[in-house]
C-alpha cells in the first residue's frame, strides 16, 4: 500500500517539474523514487492488510507489485530516449507512473469497483502514450484502435459486473465467493452470463485469441518504448488481475469457464506462434510472440492448483525481463539501421557484441531454452497444467513452443552468421548497464528459480 501512495506522489512530482522547471533532474529523481518504492513495498510482506474492504495487500499483491515496480525501473533505463523530447517530457513521466499506479490497484483489489478503476487508471494513460507521436499517422492509429477496443472490452466487463451484482447484491470478492459456495457451484443463469462476460473482457485485456486482433496493430504503431511497456507491465498486471478474480473468487464455479478457457488457450498458442513465423517486421513478430506467451500463462490459470500463482509470477517475471531486453535492442537497431526486418540484425555480433549477446539471451529465454529463466518458467507452467490432468493442452503448448524456437532463432542466426557492411552502433552507458543487468538476471533466475517459486 505504501507503494501506491509513493507512486502517486511521484507522479504528481513529475507534473510539478513542469511548473517549477527542474525537468533535468526528473529522470534520476524518478529512478531513485522507483527503487525506494521497490524496497518499501517489500516491508508489506506477510502483513496481509485489508483496506476498507476495497484492497487487500496480501503476499500475492506484494509479489506482483514488486515485479511491476522492478520491471518499470528497468523500463525507465531502457526508454531513456523516450524522455529526451523537451516538449512533453513531464507528461510522459507522469503518465507512465500513473499507469503503474493502476497496475498496482489491479494486483491488490478485492472489490469489483477497484478492479474497474485499476483497469481504467492503467488503460487511459496507455491510450495517450500509444498515440504520443502526434505527427505520426501509425502512432495515431495505434492509439485510436487501442482506445476503441479497450473501451469496448470495458463495456463487457461492466455488464458482467452488473449481472453479478444483480445476483449477489455485492461487489465484494469474498461475498461473491461465498455466494458460489452456498450454491455448490450450480450458479443461477444471470451469474453464469456475468462470469462469461467478465472472462471475455479479461481475455481481451491479456490479448488472447480470438480477442487478440487489436494487439499486433497497437504494438506495431506505438513508439517502441511504449510497446515494451504494454508487453510487460500492462500484460503482467492484467494477468495478476485475471488470476485474482478467476483463480480464487470464481474458482468454485470452474465448470462454467474452464472449458471455454481451454479452447482459448489452445487457439492462442497455435495462432500466436504460427502467425509470428510469417511476419517480416520484428516488432510485429514480437507482438505475436507476446500473444503466444499469454497462451502459456493461461495454461497455469486453467490448471487451477497450488502451482498456479507461483508459476504465473515466475513466468511473467522471466517473460518481462526477456521482453524489455529484446525491445530495447530492437529499438536501438531499428533507429540506427532504419528498418526492423530480420536483415537489420545482420552481423550485429561482430559490430556490437553486447547487443547481440543481450538479444540472444533474451530470445533464448523467450523460446524457453535452458539455462535461461524462460526454460523454468515454461517448465513450471507445464508441470502445473500436467498435475491437473491437462496432458493434451501441454502437448499443444510444447508443439507451439517448438514453432517459437524457429522464429526466435532466425534473429539469432542473422546476428551471428550473416555478414553486413553496417558500422557499429553507438550504445549509451545506461543501455550497456541495462543489458548487462538483463543478461545477469535471466541467467540467475534460470540457475536459482526456487527463490521466486517458493514465494507464493
Amino acid at each position: 500500500m505504501t507503494a501506491l501512495i509513493l507512486l502517486s506522489a511521484l507522479g504528481v512530482i513529475a507534473l510539478l517539474a513542469e511548473i517549477f522547471s527542474f525537468k533535468k533532474l526528473l529522470y534520476p529523481v524518478v529512478i531513485l523514487g522507483l527503487i525506494t518504492t521497490f524496497v518499501l513495498n517489500l516491508v508489506d510482506w506477510n502483513t496481509d492488510k485489508l483496506w476498507y474492504g476495497m484492497m487487500r495487500y496480501d503476499n500475492f499483491a506484494v509479489a506482483f507489485s514488486s515485479v511491476l515496480i522492478g520491471i518499470t525501473t528497468l523500463w525507465f533505463i531502457m526508454a531513456e530516449n523516450f524522455f529526451k523530447e523537451e516538449s512533453s517530457l513531464t507528461d510522459h513521466f507522469a503518465l507512465i507512473l500513473f499507469a503503474l499506479v493502476g497496475g498496482i490497484v489491479m494486483v491488490s483489489y478485492t472489490n469489483m469497483t477497484m478492479l474497474f478503476l485499476g483497469i481504467e487508471i492503467l488503460s487511459i494513460p496507455m491510450y495517450v502514450l500509444a498515440a504520443s507521436k502526434k505527427e505520426d499517422v501509425s502512432s495515431n492509429e495505434a492509439g485510436f484502435k487501442y482506445l476503441i477496443l479497450g473501451a469496448f472490452s470495458t463495456g463487457f466487463l461492466l455488464f458482467g459486473i452488473a449481472l453479478i451484482y444483480g445476483s449477489t447484491a455485492s461487489f465484494d470478492l469474498p461475498v461473491i465467493a461465498d455466494f458460489i459456495t452456498s450454491h455448490n457451484g450450480a450458479v443461477p443463469g444471470m451469474f453464469y452470463i456475468g462470469i462469461l462476460l467478465i472472462l471475455v473482457a479479461m481475455v481481451f485485456k491479456v490479448s488472447a485469441v480470438p480477442f487478440h486482433f487489436w494487439a499486433p496493430d497497437v504494438y506495431q504503431g506505438a513508439p517502441t518504448s511504449v510497446t515494451a511497456f504494454m508487453a510487460t507491465i500492462v500484460k503482467t498486471a492484467a494477468f495478476a488481475a485475471f488470476l485474482r478474480l478467476f483463480a480464487s473468487t470464481f474458482a468454485g464455479a470452474g465448470s462454467v469457464w474452464i472449458d471455454v478457457l481451454w479452447v482459448i488457450a489452445a487457439l492462442t498458442l497455435l495462432v500466436g506462434n504460427i502467425t509470428a513465423v510469417v511476419q517480416t517486421s520484428t516488432k510485429r513478430m514480437l507482438a505475436y510472440s507476446s500473444i503466444a506467451h499469454a497462451g502459456y500463462m493461461l495454461l497455469a490459470l486453467i490448471a487451477l492448483n497450488s502451482f498456479t500463482q507461483s508459476s504465473v509470477l515466475f513466468y511473467s517475471l522471466a517473460y518481462s525481463i526477456g521482453s524489455i531486453a529484446s525491445f530495447g535492442v530492437l529499438g536501438i537497431v531499428a533507429t540506427s539501421r532504419g528498418n526492423d526486418t530480420t536483415d537489420a540484425f545482420n552481423g550485429l555480433a561482430k559490430t556490437n557484441p553486447l547487443l547481440a549477446v543481450a538479444m540472444t539471451v533474451a530470445l533464448l529465454s523467450l523460446a524457453g531454452i535452458p539455462p535461461t529463466a524462460g526454460f523454468f518458467a515454461k517448465y513450471y507452467i507445464f508441470t502445473a497444467a500436467f498435475a491437473s490432468g491437462y496432458g493434451w493442452l501441454v502437448l499443444i503448448a510444447i508443439l507451439a513452443s517448438l514453432i517459437g524456437v524457429y522464429y526466435y532463432f532466425r534473429i539469432i542466426i542473422a546476428m551471428f552468421f550473416k555478414e553486413s557492411t553496417e558500422a557499429a552502433i553507438e550504445v549509451t552507458a545506461n543501455h550497456k548497464l541495462l543489458f548487462i543487468l538483463t543478461i545477469v538476471l535471466t541467467i540467475a533466475l534460470g540457475l536459482f528459480p526456487d527463490f521466486i517459486i517458493r514465494l507464493l
Binding site: 469489483m112 474497474f116 487511459i124 505520426d136 469496448f152 463495456g155 459486473i161 452488473a162 499486433p216 496493430d217
Partner: protein, 101 residues
Amino acid sequence: MQISINWYLLLSAVLFTIGVLGVLFRRNAIIIFMSIELMLNAVNLLLVAFSSYLSDSKGQVFVFFIMAVAAAEVAVGLAILMSVYRNSKSTDINSLNKLKG
C-alpha cells in the same frame, strides 16, 4: 403498477447489443464513440435498476464511478481523434489502415 426487474434487464441488454453492433458495423469514429457510450449507459441503467430492486445503494455509487471514467475516456478519445483528423483529414476508420502484417 410495479414494473418487474426482468423488463429492465431486457431493456439494458437490448441497448447494450445496439451499442456493440454500432461499434462493430459503423465506420464513423464519432458514431463509434456514441455506441460505446450507449454500452456504458446500458450498464448504468442496469446497475441503478438492480440497486433499487435489491434496496442497496452500492450499485448507484458504482454508476458515479462509471460516469466519471467514461467522461475521462471520451476526453482522451476525442483528443486522439483530433490528431487522427489532423493527419488524415477524415473521421472514417477505413482511413486507418496503415498497420498491417
